[in-house]
């Protein structure tokens, strides 16, 4: 099997606290050693001088659209975008067609991923059959087939009793329950955050309360059932406050925030630009500040992109007809560096936690750390290189990003999955003779 030594990088590992110039030796898909002046006969070498060598980033909230919507994204294209964004593991939401509500669909996704994916793909199963919110899906069988959590993302379970049963079941199988918290009655017909901008633009508002009431409900149900409960894409001030409160009470609750919810407020949208339309919607500046504070304080456990590709024709419509969701895999790291690290709000090590040990603690993937014997999932990035995001060159099959044309400082340089270099930034291949050419 292949051998690789990553030389002289600044190795940062939030799990152990290591932050030093080290070599990382990889053999047979696993980390063989981390140390100084490592010798590994017959190994290729990768010079990481001036670069950060980190555990492979995990994106716990991604839509790969396969099976069913292959025109918008596939496991192959989505995983390519993940690799280009520095992610080595992604978790795919079950809102495919058919919905991932059975072991058959779970197995299909895993088999397709084994054959076509550039990164590790961990499916998330549905909570209810067809995500219809009524009858529980085959949660135990899906767990046996490989799901790492359950969620009816995008079609939240409105019936509290069904949610209670789901939490009880998930607890018995050791799975976390991820909820897209949205009271569908309160949000019905809404297109953007309810506030001065929705009123000004004549668009129907989605009140932050539609998120908050469900976060409150689910925290109470988590306490009732003892389940592990995770809030997807938290976006409102009250929800962040409730998460902090629940954690202080010792409940097993966690949450993730998306880069767009801490980078963009509702007033950032150019008039009726559907690349700014997603759920939860971009909230007010006050909510944005609260999400950022939650990231700093620890109320937020992970950063996840909620990568949601939609074909161009779907987004080229009247704003109210356009589907919700934006791309995120390729810009997550750039946006996080830009808005949180370079601004001094969080340290680089805290950023790594949010992308590695944070999601791993929620999902128990046994990834996200650099240690001898661990799978060699490694993200190499830099914090200074200037680059501009061109969505027309995206590895995704879709083009719906509000960050098109953004200039970033720092971003992914090379992505290593199970010891194999699956992606490198343009030009790096020729500059480093020891590096196999980019797989792109």
């Amino acid at each position: 099997m292949s051998k690789l030594v990553i030389r002289n990088g600044r190795v940062m590992d939030p799990a152990s606290g290591l932050d030093a110039i080290r070599d990382v030796a990889i053999e047979d898909g696993r980390i063989a050693a981390i140390g100084e002046d490592l010798a590994l006969p017959g190994a290729s070498e990768l010079d990481a001088s001036g670069l950060i060598v980190a555990p492979g980033f995990i994106d716990m909230h991604v839509h790969l659209r396969e099976p069913g919507f292959e025109y918008a994204e596939t496991i192959e294209s989505g995983s390519r975008a993940a690799a280009a964004g520095g992610f080595t593991s992604i978790c795919c939401m079950p809102n495919t067609s058919p919905v991932n509500d059975s072991a058959t669909v779970t197995s299909y996704i895993i088999e397709r991923a084994e054959r076509h994916a550039m990164v590790n793909v961990f499916p998330i199963g549905a909570i209810t059959k067809n995500s219809a919110g009524e009858e529980l899906a085959a949660i135990g069988l899906m767990k046996a087939a490989g799901i790492v959590a359950i969620s009816d993302d995008g079609r939240p379970v409105m019936n509290a009793r069904v949610m209670r049963r789901a939490m009880e079941t998930a607890r018995s199988f050791g799975l976390p329950v991820i909820d897209h918290c949205e009271d569908l009655h309160l949000s019905a017909g809404g297109d953007m955050n309810e506030g001065i901008d929705s009123v000004r633009l004549g668009l129907r508002g989605i009140p932050a309360a539609s998120e908050d009431v469900m976060v409150a409900r689910d925290i109470l149900l988590a306490e009732l059932t003892g389940a592990r409960f995770h809030v997807a894409h938290i976006s409102s001030r009250h929800s962040v406050e409730m998460l902090a409160f629940a954690k202080a009470r010792g409940l097993a609750v966690t949450c993730e925030a998306t880069p767009h919810h801490f980078a963009l407020a509702d007033n950032a949208m150019p008039p009726y630009d559907s690349n700014y339309k997603m759920k939860p919607p971009l909230r007010s500046a006050c909510d944005l500040a609260a999400v950022t504070e939650g990231i700093i304080s620890g109320a937020v456990d992970a950063i996840a992109s909620d990568h949601a590709p939609h074909a161009g024709s779907e987004k080229m419509q009247e704003f109210e007809k356009c589907p919700f969701g934006i791309l995120g895999l390729e810009t997550a790291m750039g946006v996080t560096l830009d808005r949180l690290v370079h601004t001094g709000k969080i340290t680089l090590m805290r950023m790594l936690e949010l992308f590695t040990t944070g999601p791993d603690r929620v999902l128990n993937l046994n990834r996200g750390r650099l240690a001898a014997g661990a799978p060699a999932d490694i993200t190499i990035f830099d914090t200074e290189r200037a680059w501009t995001y061109d969505v027309n060159r995206s590895a995704s099959k879709s083009r719906n990003s509000p960050f098109h044309g953004y200039s970033f400082r720092g971003g992914p340089v090379a992505t290593i999955v199970n010891g194999k270099i699956v992606w490198t930034a343009d030009g790096l291949g020729s500059a480093s003779p020891g590096l196999p050419s980019a797989s792109q």
Partner: protein, 303 residues
Amino acid sequence: MPSGLLGIEPLDRVEIEAILDRAKSFQPQQTARRKSDQLRGRMIVNLFFEASTRTRTSFEIAAKRLGADAISITATGSSVSKGESLVDTLNTLGAMHPDAIVMRHAASGAPHFLARHLVETPIINAGDGTHEHPTQALLDARTILDRRSSLEGLRVAIIGDIAHSRVARSNVYLLSKFGAQIVLCGPASLLPPELARLAPGVTLTHKIEDAIRGADVIMMLRVQLERQHEPAFSANEYFQFYGLRLEHMTLAKPDAIVMHPGPINRGREISSEVADSQRSVILNQVENGIAVRMAVLERILGN
């Protein structure tokens, strides 16, 4: 050259005044039923995705009074009913090289979305969803200014379903730019509190009496049931609390005028006695609609 007219919000006072002054000079021509040839040889497409009587007819007559050719297309009976997307419909029409497209659509922002993708053809917004209806605000201002020397300091009450009203938004932007005091009034679920921050000079009230007290202008709005999820009020109750009746008029200034963008629902938001009273300028609004749209078309298409 102005590229089109999407809304009042982005316009400045000078532009608005120019249109209003020009509209005034078109009034005699309109009442004398005379045709001129400022826009001869120009082709204007009226594309109406939503039901409309007065606005569509008004734009059509305005175009023809200026010598332009105007054709009207409604959503039913066009390829829209065959499932064509909005952008494809507009690209198709754009390829026929009209000089302007006048468009009404039920989706807020539809003309703005098209203006981004159809840069060659000026688009005139004839009402987009619950966002703006710029020519309505212009004709309302023209109608007020036919009776008052200035908008500055006027107290204007706008009463009814503000939440769903593009007429209210365009009027708020226009009146605010000229220093009017605007009181928005309606039941709580049709009067989002954020409206107070829409423009300077706006206040909100849930009491029709407070809105009308001392008003120079009373604008009544239709309750747009078609845009609501659930009716906020039963019909009888609505008229009881938010319908304009003769007894209210004693609260307003003695020379106050009553306006309504139409279509009016007698006995729902306005009593017949008020609608047909001397105070009502509802038909003057319709008349001014043509003069104002002539001014808009000339400004966008004239040499």
